[in-house]
């Protein structure tokens, strides 16, 4: 039976000490399988986890050579496969991702789905080892790849500015770390200590597996039980993300680089995260302020003052950070900051029109309902629930958003603390 068209309804069971979440739907022409391994974001582990994501995808015991492994993926009708790391709050997630076409659209005899599960399972259960360690040739090559990846953060100035302001405002907190880790840790990693870390990770850390597609639940559960035969102890509890922090005064950080456009990022703390009752009100607050083209930042920084092409605010829902971002001519820095502060004040004072509230609720609801049509997004939505410990149903969240009042938005806005104003600017002009 197909899942409800209006709800993200995963069915969850436990297998080999892992949580398996299955969403059976006929909508998609592919089946998506995602394995999420959760780790505390910390200086101790961050670089190892990141390197692991690169080393794992080079080979398995069955495919000791990367070329063979990639050829096999092509043989599975261009199965999409990747291993990656990202952060959600103060969690670093090691993610294994696989997507294969549904056999019913192909004239193939290969049992694609079971082969895909087997392939992913072998990443964890049958890694390619030499002398009981990850092969040095792969570890050495991927240490270099990781270094290059971290160095090329600077290529994307928007991402770079976002990371820099985060480092400045969260100094001393795990959240300051980049999900790809730190260059200074790379040299100390070997095939042996990385393999020891890998074993610990898959034995003790929380693992969630998600499957979305036209699948038979019983059958896919069996495939997972068979091909992910891990010896697991009880998943260990990871430390909570630090959300509350008093801000003594707003800091201003100006950094110079060879750029044409100034990147203005203003980091704020909201003290509210996904698990809180005020989360729906925070979503509406962010929407009124800068989430959409009808929002105050877009209308005032861009449309009225003509200062920018983009002027937005974004939430990090597990750390409770709100980031305002705009690309400006540096000569307009003070003017832009002042307009942005003014918009925040307006929301704080409850100066929000009825149409701003209605538009924000309507566009937010639309954004959430659109998640239903993308396998990846349905998984992210469900995983936010798992990670935060508050598993809202989609319809429940939509109802809560609908009920938010201007008074709720004011209450949330009152909690907002501006933390750091960061400007990435050019090398020209006088040093400030």
């Amino acid at each position: 039976m197909a899942a409800s068209a209006q709800e993200i309804a995963f069915e969850t069971t436990e297998r080999n000490g892992m949580n398996v979440h299955i969403l059976s739907t006929e909508k998609f022409k592919t089946t998506t399988i995602v394995v999420m391994i959760e780790q505390a974001l910390s200086e101790e582990h961050v670089t190892k986890t990141a390197l692991l994501s690169l080393v794992m995808k080079r080979a398995t015991a069955r495919f000791p050579d990367t070329k063979q492994l990639r050829e096999y993926l092509n043989f599975l009708y261009g199965a999409i496969f990747d291993v990656d790391v990202f952060k959600k709050g103060e969690r670093q997630i090691l993610q294994l991702y696989m997507e294969v076409p549904n056999e019913k659209y192909l004239s193939a005899e290969t049992p694609l789905l079971e082969e895909a599960v087997r392939f992913l399972g072998e990443m964890l259960t049958r890694p390619y080892l030499e002398n009981n360690a990850f092969a040095e040739k792969y570890v050495t090559a991927e240490k270099e790849s990781l270094r290059k990846r971290i160095e090329s953060l600077i290529d994307d100035k928007m991402r770079y500015a976002n990371q820099r302001v985060t480092e400045e405002m969260c100094k001393g907190e795990p959240y300051a770390l980049l999900a790809n880790g730190r260059i200074e840790d790379i040299a100390g990693i070997t095939g042996a200590n990385l393999y020891a870390y890998f074993q610990e990770l898959i034995r003790e850390n929380p693992i969630n597996i998600f499957v979305v597609g036209d699948v038979d639940k019983g059958q896919i559960s069996e495939y997972i039980a068979t091909h992910f035969a891990l010896q697991r102890s009880r998943a260990k509890a990871l430390p909570a993300t630090q959300v509350n922090k008093a801000v003594a005064e707003v800091r201003e950080v100006i950094e110079r680089l060879e750029v044409n456009q100034g990147k203005l990022n203003i980091g704020c703390r909201t003290s509210i995260t996904y698990r809180d009752d005020d989360y729906p009100a925070l979503l509406v607050f962010n929407g009124v302020l800068g989430g959409f083209p009808h929002s105050k930042l877009f209308m005032n920084v861009r449309e009225k003052a003509s200062l920018a092409y983009y002027a937005v605010s974004r939430l990090e829902s597990h750390k409770g950070i709100l980031m305002m971002m705009s690309g400006i001519d540096v000569t307009n820095y003070e003017k832009a900051v002042s307009i942005i502060k003014e918009q925040v004040e307006l929301v704080r004072n409850g100066e929000i029109s009825e149409s701003e509230m209605n538009q924000t609720k309507a566009t937010l609801a639309n954004q959430y309902r659109e998640l239903l049509d993308n396998p990846r997004s349905t998984i992210d939505f469900a995983y936010n629930g798992v990670l935060s410990g508050r598993e809202r149903k989609l319809q429940e969240l939509l109802r809560e958003i609908e009920q938010v009042t201007v008074a709720d938005v004011k209450r949330v806005a009152a909690k907002l603390q501006m933390d750091t104003i960061y400007l990435l600017r050019d090398n020209k002009g006088e040093a400030k």
Partner: protein, 430 residues
């Protein structure tokens, strides 16, 4: 409405040509929550030299198609985004080399949003004041792209490959070129290119095609348009050879970025022939440079490329090209190695196993792309303008043989058709 069934992929497409010339395509998708609609005119950044209805030939400032796209959102009553937000839709637009598309996605109020889309694109409103205001906004958009090394290295490659063709010109223009735009030139462009006969409407997602088809028909019947015009676009004669073998630029980057392009000599194709050339070329690139190729692994093991290394073929009737490249610590050595390896491939040919695996991969990737309503609508429209059919991709892919790919390899990879673009850091890291 006509219906066309694509049984292999389990889709049914509804099509109608309205009396005013508008091409309407509707693709209902069972079980989807959202609907995506895109209203596209065959008018992009390359269409800057053309004949007006009065018979006069004009040359408009670079970046005007994109500027016009921005200005369509502003009306006397205010900003169109506000109206879409009211109905919970997420609206946007984009301008490419050869088309301008206006779009929205929504999960409710489809009728209102669709009427809004048709009406705002068919109701120009430009004032001197609003044109001036937009120059600041687009100026920042241009500056943002100037800081984007991936965009720079790509545009520079087009400049290296094309001597005359306007595909070498920045889509958004430059700060200087947009300074020349006036409301009068915007109206001239609008009058020339926004006739329904030059446009395609594609709606895909969760809806019943009969009432939606009726809504579109009635909306269009209410409006007056002249007869479908013959648009005369004037493109310069593009010589076969590349303009320059190499363009280099300095920007703040971690590793150098390189793109290698091969400018196509077999141009002027349309319809299925163009589609076959596109997919034969894509297979060729996959086999030679894809992540499962011997060359990719060799370059990766030598540390000459990173995971960013990629290749693709871009197929348009009069400007097709292949591109490969990514981040590298040593652009010169990478070019040399690729040239040497390519020479060997040209002699040795392609193995049957590599060919079959790559073909399977392409079939799987195509099926996967049909999960995305955005891909279907935009790719269908883009192909439609070239007389090509998106749903013909699978049969065309299945028809391609190894001999086709080897033939393509010989005719496409000619070193005199090769150009290189490099972006590297002004201040060396070490």
């Amino acid at each position: 409405m006509d219906t066309i069934s694509f049984e292999q992929v389990n889709e049914t497409l509804y099509h109608e040509t309205l009396p005013n010339g508008l091409q309407v395509y509707l693709l209902p998708k069972a079980g989807f929550a959202k609907t995506y609609a895109v209203f596209t005119t065959r008018y992009g950044s390359i269409d800057s030299h053309f004949r007006l209805k009065t018979g006069e030939v004009i040359h408009v400032p670079d970046g005007i198609a994109h500027f016009l796209e921005h200005k369509m959102f502003e009306k006397e009553r205010g900003d169109v985004f506000q109206d879409f937000s009211k109905y919970g839709a997420s609206a946007n637009a984009f301008t490419s080399f050869n088309r301008t598309a206006y779009l929205f996605s929504c999960t409710s109020h489809l009728e209102e949003n669709l009427s809004l889309l048709l009406d705002f694109v068919q109701e120009p409103y430009f004032t001197d004041q609003s044109v001036e205001k937009e120059k600041g906004i687009i100026g920042q958009e241009i500056t943002m792209y100037d800081d984007n090394p991936d965009w720079k290295v790509y545009m520079n490659l087009l400049k290296a490959m094309y001597r005359e063709h306007p595909v070498k010109i920045e889509i958004a223009g430059t700060i200087d070129s947009i300074a020349e735009i006036t409301k009068e030139t915007l109206y001239q462009c609008y009058e020339t290119f926004y006739h329904p006969g030059n446009m395609v409407l594609f709606v895909v997602g969760s809806f019943d095609p009969e009432p939606i088809g009726k809504l579109i028909r009635e909306n269009q019947q209410k409006k007056q348009f002249g007869p479908v015009p013959q648009i005369e676009r004037i493109y310069p004669e593009e010589p076969k050879p590349v303009a320059k073998p190499l363009i280099e630029e300095k920007l703040a980057v971690g590793l150098a970025k390189i793109l290698i392009g091969f400018k196509e000599t077999q141009t002027g194709l349309q319809g299925e022939a163009l589609l076959k050339q596109e997919y034969t070329s894509k297979l060729l690139l996959d086999i030679l440079f894809g992540s499962s190729s011997a060359l990719y692994q060799k370059l990766y093991d030598q540390g000459l490329i990173t995971e960013t290394f990629d290749s693709d073929y871009s197929a348009e009737s009069d400007y097709s090209y292949s591109i490969l490249g990514g981040d590298t610590p040593d652009p010169e050595k990478l070019v040399e190695t690729i040239k040497t390896e390519l020479t060997q491939y040209l002699q040795a040919g392609i193995s049957e196993e590599d060919f079959e695996r790559s073909k399977r991969r392409r079939i799987g990737l195509f099926l996967r792309s049909l999960n995305s309503v955005e891909f279907i609508a935009n790719q269908f429209t883009s192909y439609r303008f070239n007389g090509t059919d998106l749903f013909a991709v699978l049969p065309v892919l299945e028809s391609i043989t190894r001999a086709d790919v080897e033939q393509r390899m010989k005719e496409h990879f000619r070193f005199e058709q090769m150009a290189v673009s490099i972006v590297r850091s002004a201040t060396p890291q070490e």
